[in-house]
């Protein structure tokens, strides 16, 4: 279709929308959609640049190996435990902070914004500095623990902790991630509370409702949809955790904190086995899409 000057101009005037969307689409195609399709293709091949294993088509073998490899399952279980506990901590802490901030008072907006800083600064920077804070000998946290309880903890070691016997290193990853993401949970719950119409809030005030009645009949109904949104975003993001683990423990000691994305990174850029790495990342993608659909349907149902 030869687009002479004249016809190009009326193409734009006829379909201005497409003309506006095209450039974004092209760049997304090139650096987003196409690579994903390409990596899907790669996941059906085995090859290794370092040990010169030639490129050969293996069909679903990569997937089969992964689904049956104890190593892969161990990483999934670790990631599952990590997600569950960090989600619990973030919800409980986030909810209580939101409740404390629920009612309007001077400086409330300032406090909420300051609390957002951990979420906004680079996870790499926070994780790296937590290595100092959690340092066995010089770390301030152990200094405080010693002063208060007279104990010191190998935060980045592998010995089991009182929480379900999980290694301390994994607990440290959970703590750092929760330090970063709790404000996100708190903020969304606050937004849910913010959706409560102000005249309803004042009505409760004039009616003299006690805090527990306000909680049960006013706050909870309005933040229920928000909880679903939080679960969806947090599940997706915690599956993607990489920066904190890489900097804090690099998956160590040994493989105690090797979450899924760190494992994929190791497969691809340490063992150079792109076949398995892409296959595993596709398994994760399928898991994410499945979970989002479940939540989207629940959310739409809730709000519909």
């Amino acid at each position: 279709m030869k687009l002479s000057g004249r016809s190009f101009k009326n193409f734009i005037s006829k379909h201005p929308a497409w003309f506006m969307v095209l450039p974004s689409l092209l760049i997304l195609l090139a650096l987003n959609i196409f690579p994903l399709i390409w990596s899907l293709g790669v996941s059906f091949y085995k090859f290794n640049l370092i040990i010169k294993e030639p490129l050969r088509y293996v069909g679903g073998q990569n997937y089969l190996e992964l689904l049956t490899s104890p190593e892969a399952w161990d990483r999934f279980i670790k990631t599952g435990a990590y997600i569950l506990i960090s989600m619990l901590i973030q919800l409980v802490l986030g909810f209580s902070l939101a409740l404390l901030l629920a009612e309007e008072f001077k400086g409330r907006r300032l406090l909420t914004t300051i609390l957002m800083i951990p979420l906004m600064i680079a996870p790499v920077a926070s994780a790296l500095f937590f290595r100092y804070l959690l340092d066995y000998n010089f770390g301030p946290i152990n200094a405080i623990l010693e002063k208060l309880f007279g104990i010191r903890i190998y935060w980045l070691g592998a010995d089991p902790s009182p929480i379900f016997g999980l290694p301390y290193a994994l607990i440290s990853v959970i703590l750092v991630e929760s330090w970063i993401w709790t404000p996100f949970v708190m903020y969304l719950i606050l937004a849910g509370m913010g959706a409560i119409p102000s005249d309803l809030w004042e009505q409760a005030e004039v009616d003299g409702l006690s805090f527990w009645y306000k909680l049960r009949y006013l706050i909870l109904p309005y933040i229920k949809p928000m909880i679903a949104l939080i679960l969806m975003f947090r599940l997706m993001d915690s599956l993607k955790t990489f920066d904190t683990v890489y900097v804090l423990t690099a998956g160590g000691p040994g493989t105690t904190t090797e979450l899924i994305s760190v494992y994929i990174y190791k497969l691809a850029f340490i063992e150079w086995d792109f076949g398995s790495a892409t296959a595993l990342s596709y398994l994760v993608i399928v898991l994410v899409i499945f979970m989002t659909n479940v939540f989207m349907r629940y959310l739409i149902l809730k709000r519909g």
């Binding site: 497409w18 969307v21 390409w38």
Partner: protein, 276 residues
């Protein structure tokens, strides 16, 4: 009778006091980052809590260590990525907001799904592609990549702001006889300026903090601060004063940005879906 007035007043102030203590404890890591950055090495070990004599030696050491280049790389990549994404997303956002494009919902869902994609899944194929086209380690490659990453977010964000403007305003301008470009640049964009600024800031924060893509796609002389910080992990004996200095310079702009977009935090965090 309703609980006594006194109890009501006590409860009110008690709650604020607990809150302030909790928040101070919660933000103590930031306190340590900022104090350690100005601490002399000796005082570092003597008392990990207080800062008595302020020194700038850590910052000089950080500069000598190459932190300055890493920060400039971060700036180049962020400005480039955000700029390119902005130009593309303003047009796309306007099109998605104002026109009933066929397949619009599929497109919007696809764009939302890029937010869900684990970056590691994407970085492997990109790594292979960049190696094939010689883009690995170049500013252009990083900027192009980061524009693509923040494009979906800023399309959604700006679209949510344009949706807030009634369509009648565009039609009024069309009826006045103005062209589509006039409507876009003289009417719609000026009206959504706060929204555009917010989406610029959010994209900038995302790119400035990004690590996975930078780790694998940047070269020695194009690596941003996040990669520099992660490379320190490999060294023996950490010089925490120097690390703290680099981190202060690295996180300070973000803290300022957060206060800039305070009003639109919610819209940014939930990808424009929740507006309130």
């Amino acid at each position: 009778m309703v609980e006594s007035l006194l109890l009501y007043k006590i409860k009110k102030y008690l709650r604020v006091i607990i809150l302030v203590i909790l928040i101070l404890a919660y933000l103590s890591p930031l306190y340590w980052i900022f104090t350690t950055a100005f601490k002399t090495r000796s005082e570092m070990f003597a008392n990990p809590f207080y800062l008595t004599q302020v020194t700038l030696e850590n910052f000089e050491e950080a500069a000598r260590y190459g932190a300055f280049d890493a920060i400039t790389n971060s700036v180049i990549i962020t400005v480039g990525g955000v700029g390119l994404a902005l130009v593309l997303s303003v047009f796309a956002a306007y099109a998605f907001s104002r026109y009933a494009l066929r397949g619009k919902n599929i497109l919007m869902f696809y764009i939302l799904s890029t937010r869900m994609m684990p970056p590691i899944a994407l970085v492997i194929p990109i790594f292979m592609m960049f190696q094939k086209f010689g883009l690995k380690g170049t500013y252009a490659g990083l900027i192009l990549m980061y524009a693509t990453i923040s494009l979906p977010f800023s399309i959604w964000m700006i679209k949510s702001f344009i949706d807030d403007i009634p369509k009648d305003i565009d039609q009024a301008a069309i009826l006045d006889g103005h062209s589509l470009t006039y409507v876009l640049f003289k009417i719609v964009i000026p009206m959504v300026l706060p929204g555009i600024v917010a989406s610029i800031v959010f994209s900038a924060i995302t790119i400035w903090n990004e690590f996975v893509f930078a780790l694998l796609l940047s070269g020695i002389n194009t690596r941003p601060t996040s990669v520099l910080l992660s490379s320190i992990r490999g060294e023996r004996g950490f010089n925490w004063g120097r690390i703290a200095a680099i981190e202060v310079v690295y996180i300070l702009p973000i803290i300022i940005f957060v206060f800039l977009v305070q009003k639109h935090l919610l819209r940014g965090l939930t990808f424009g879906t929740v507006r309130r």
